[in-house]
Symmetry: D2
Subunit: 358 residues, 4 copies
Amino acid sequence: MLSVAIIGATGVVGQEFIVALDKHPWFEVKAVAASERSAGKRYIDALRDSSTGILKWHQRTPIPEYAKEMVIKSVGEIDARDYDLIFTAVESDDARVIEPRLAEHTPVISTAAAFRYEQDVPILIPGVNDAHAELLEVQREKRGWNGFIAPLPNCTTTGLAITLKPIQDAFGIERVIMTSLQAVSGAGRSPGVSALDIFDNIIPFIPKEEEKVQVEARKILGKFSDGRIDDARFRVSCTCTRVPVIDGHTECAFVETSRDCEPDDVKHVMLKYSRGVSIKDLPSAPADYIIVHDDPSRPQPRLDRDVNDGMSTIVGRIRKDTAFERGIKYVLLSHNEKMGSAKGAVLLAEMLKVRELL
Amino acid sequence: MLSVAIIGATGVVGQEFIVALDKHPWFEVKAVAASERSAGKRYIDALRDSSTGILKWHQRTPIPEYAKEMVIKSVGEIDARDYDLIFTAVESDDARVIEPRLAEHTPVISTAAAFRYEQDVPILIPGVNDAHAELLEVQREKRGWNGFIAPLPNCTTTGLAITLKPIQDAFGIERVIMTSLQAVSGAGRSPGVSALDIFDNIIPFIPKEEEKVQVEARKILGKFSDGRIDDARFRVSCTCTRVPVIDGHTECAFVETSRDCEPDDVKHVMLKYSRGVSIKDLPSAPADYIIVHDDPSRPQPRLDRDVNDGMSTIVGRIRKDTAFERGIKYVLLSHNEKMGSAKGAVLLAEMLKVRELL
Amino acid sequence: MLSVAIIGATGVVGQEFIVALDKHPWFEVKAVAASERSAGKRYIDALRDSSTGILKWHQRTPIPEYAKEMVIKSVGEIDARDYDLIFTAVESDDARVIEPRLAEHTPVISTAAAFRYEQDVPILIPGVNDAHAELLEVQREKRGWNGFIAPLPNCTTTGLAITLKPIQDAFGIERVIMTSLQAVSGAGRSPGVSALDIFDNIIPFIPKEEEKVQVEARKILGKFSDGRIDDARFRVSCTCTRVPVIDGHTECAFVETSRDCEPDDVKHVMLKYSRGVSIKDLPSAPADYIIVHDDPSRPQPRLDRDVNDGMSTIVGRIRKDTAFERGIKYVLLSHNEKMGSAKGAVLLAEMLKVRELL
Amino acid sequence: MLSVAIIGATGVVGQEFIVALDKHPWFEVKAVAASERSAGKRYIDALRDSSTGILKWHQRTPIPEYAKEMVIKSVGEIDARDYDLIFTAVESDDARVIEPRLAEHTPVISTAAAFRYEQDVPILIPGVNDAHAELLEVQREKRGWNGFIAPLPNCTTTGLAITLKPIQDAFGIERVIMTSLQAVSGAGRSPGVSALDIFDNIIPFIPKEEEKVQVEARKILGKFSDGRIDDARFRVSCTCTRVPVIDGHTECAFVETSRDCEPDDVKHVMLKYSRGVSIKDLPSAPADYIIVHDDPSRPQPRLDRDVNDGMSTIVGRIRKDTAFERGIKYVLLSHNEKMGSAKGAVLLAEMLKVRELL
């Protein structure tokens, strides 16, 4: 068993890590860290509002037994050398300070954007660009660290990149235009999206989100060689919106391909890719990496997001595109709190372990 | 005053006509028609469920006084010769039967799709393609009618065409890619969208909607000459989704233009177009035909849909597109139950009257 | 194995029966019946809209394999003698005609209200008033049937009666005042509640619902003796509202008791009752019949309804009442589509089998 | 014109004051105060997020012109002697410090709970207990202030007290049991209710709310004599819940009366009371103080809350109660952001001016 610490363990993403690591066959949570305010408290007490008695636990499954009684450390108390692996679930500004300190000694898998865009930092999606993990060795050497920082992509990039990968491999990609309809859970909960702002409403703007997806998609689908990643050459344009949905990002993609392809071809290559995906035997991998619906009313976030515990990317409505001479369009659904967040980070850790980077 | 009949007056769109024509300076409602089941009842009684006492009136303003006591006719009882103008708010299958019978004698303005795609039928948006109204004369002559059928576009086409028009005029258009986030009111109420299907959910499919928008946009923005409309040459591709919003269709548009343009240029031509729009002095016209927001979080359906009683098209987030060498992207909001429905039909009637087609 | 037929198998409640009976250890579904329109089709085909390809399956779990290929019969084709037990999921008007015909030969467990208020018909909640099942023998004899009709209560009565039972036993009940906040799934789906009517809204009226709960609660908690049920003597008053929640009825109860009781006493008797409940070892029984929360923000429908697959009644906020000299108030949550519907009916069948009434 | 200051002018309630006082015939806003962070900025600039450009204005009407350019003062800069009247929209803890300092010199009308329960402080609802305003003179004298503190009730108390008043006058009241279904706007917006917590959900607990309503209703409907208020004698018990509704508190009331009354009698006394209400000619008073619906599906928050700009209390479903020998039950709707908040406070100011207390 590898010993693991979770930084930011009381927040929404931290809670997801607590759940994703419950009874994990390879990783054992040895420490949970949070802000000074929570440090020294038992995990369950830190979640309870002492004035009202309300428990601020936001997962549908109960708090795993292993976590309830763990005493929370402050981030400063964590000595990275005590752990084989550290998961971080903190804001980008904090990540910028905390993560390098930890990575000096120990591998860090991060849900924050802080280091994603640095040249020696890959943005890894297990099953899509595992080969980019080699860049972590470059990073180690260059920075003189024993560990490294391996960030997840933005949760909106995840499903897009997963579905583009088989298209890119089979037909080539020239242009990607994507409109996202993103769930409120993507904004967290403190404060997250106020009910007053999103009931019966769409907010057609998520600060910095479009830029992230546009940059990340090309980096993830780029090519690793000579110790560096060459971004993919296709162009990407996104509009990211917030919709009144609890969990699950829906994305409407229009893809101009380099070579002709019919919807059935695309379905075929997606399913073939899914069956052969590199990470299919890892503990947190879903039974289906990609699911393709023929029912045109699917995917729907409420009906489909929890399939395979949120680890599958669900595709539907694959049609010939009418704006491009060669192109297809489709709709995808990705669970932003599962494959796009903590459980996706655990899957990444599993992939890195198999590649002997942990 | 022109005398007017409303066909389908008890349904949701019919109720909107009742409201849109209240105290109208030019049009006076002389008859309301509905199904056999309602015929012979006073309007207000036809709306009341006799077993529960619930009034099925779905507008926020109360039933206008003029309508309450009107006795509903069956559609068969309507003699078109008794009216100067007829508004229809019926399903397409019914429209196919009813409308030609009425148009033989009297101009019909229709919210149904039944005749939109016939060669001698223009799809009119007042302020956008008023010149296409000439095709109504061709239609009259060809069909040997005294009247004509003038259909509105699909409510999703309306806002898109309105915003594309000034771009087309100023910069030319090569490609339009659009994802819509459509309100539930667009599906009516009997049965409309079930709450069970759309709460906390997106339905990424609206049967036939995308095809309608793709065809209609090119027809509306086409050129009328020699007694026919040549469709615009640009390519259009849409994905239409249903979202948990009551009223107001949000659309995310990506436009490849023929000539370079900056976001500020686009804002400028939209506002200039809005100020000079042909129909600006008509009774149902809004103070602003197009409104452009600088606040990047707008337009939002709940905040913006009721501005100018839902008759304005609201634009925001005009940005340089990153998928096309020359292109822009933006978000628009159009009130599907107002400019996109009955009140838009009344505005169309006003335009036709000014052009002496009524 | 007892052989079972489901009448009304394609509707929402029928679909729940299909799920609730999947892999059941005692009952095997041998026939599914629906309207003439569906008869002769395979079950999965009957659910698919042939024009759009949309599958009208409304459960979160996929269609069980056993049901997919079953060929649907029309109701008229069902010969009751071929089955040991029949579950019906039809509207009350249809139930009034269909159920007696079936009950002549075979026990019928019904989700309809049609027969609930007849003197020789018990309204059974397994675990609450099992002894009332004896009335089924009276019914058999009186009507000369081989079978019987055993209806479930209204789904709003279920949780109320379950929580009142231990209070009644321990402290006596004088008055019950209850306001319900009912989920939209309680109204079904064809048409059910239109999204337009319930988004951002409360509908403070559900036709006939309050009368049902008021009558049923007193009958269920009444005493069976001398071949008849004497209704409980307490008074009941309800206001039933519809709220924008998908599943799970929340009820706010105020109870005047005959004897003094403290909130802790009430919690104690509820939990004790739950531990000893008669049906606790049946296949469909939940691990906990009643769950009592100390966290004052619970129960919440979205967080608590799926606990124990919706078969538990969840109680919270037990407090001293301030309107009555002796009284308590609390909030309860009951899953209207599970314990209050098909799966509750299956639990009832299990109880009747154990009592040798099947 | 009386000169007025608004304390807490940038928050949600403060914004409502800005709107409620726009073009007011008697009051002129001379100063707006907020936190140090906003002080020195123009009002419109203080609302704009400088990093994203998003304007944090939460009203449906645009920012009134008079307010846009006003320079915000810090609370400490406000010299109460410069104003004839001060409206405060701050949290209770801040109110406890700020309001006495201001009231030393100038009348303060407060939306906070800080002073509501002190013996020399009336809780005023204009039209219900105007006579309690005399207690303000007692307060002045006792505390040696030139001004006074006059708090509004909790927004949930307002509609309840308004509807109980005519019942109390006509039939006497013994017991009141009330369950509220409260809108999210009642919790404000910073942070207010997170969308994640309330979508598809009910939160059956609002800290301290029930106690407030129970105490306030009896104080407001108490009797003022000999310089003090004797609380009304009836008993009150509430359960307060939060529901997914934007604006408008729905309350289900069960009232045991001292004397027999039929639903029609109650409707009659409510409407009679409404027609003769003391404040009916004041500038902010609604056309109807109480509206009674016969349609049993009303009131509904989305349809009814904005009637008379949210200043009417809407009643429906008046029925004979079945739990009490003498009693009635009904449903009421009160706009928590209008009559229950800033605009109600302005109406109170108008009433105090007419009574020459300003």
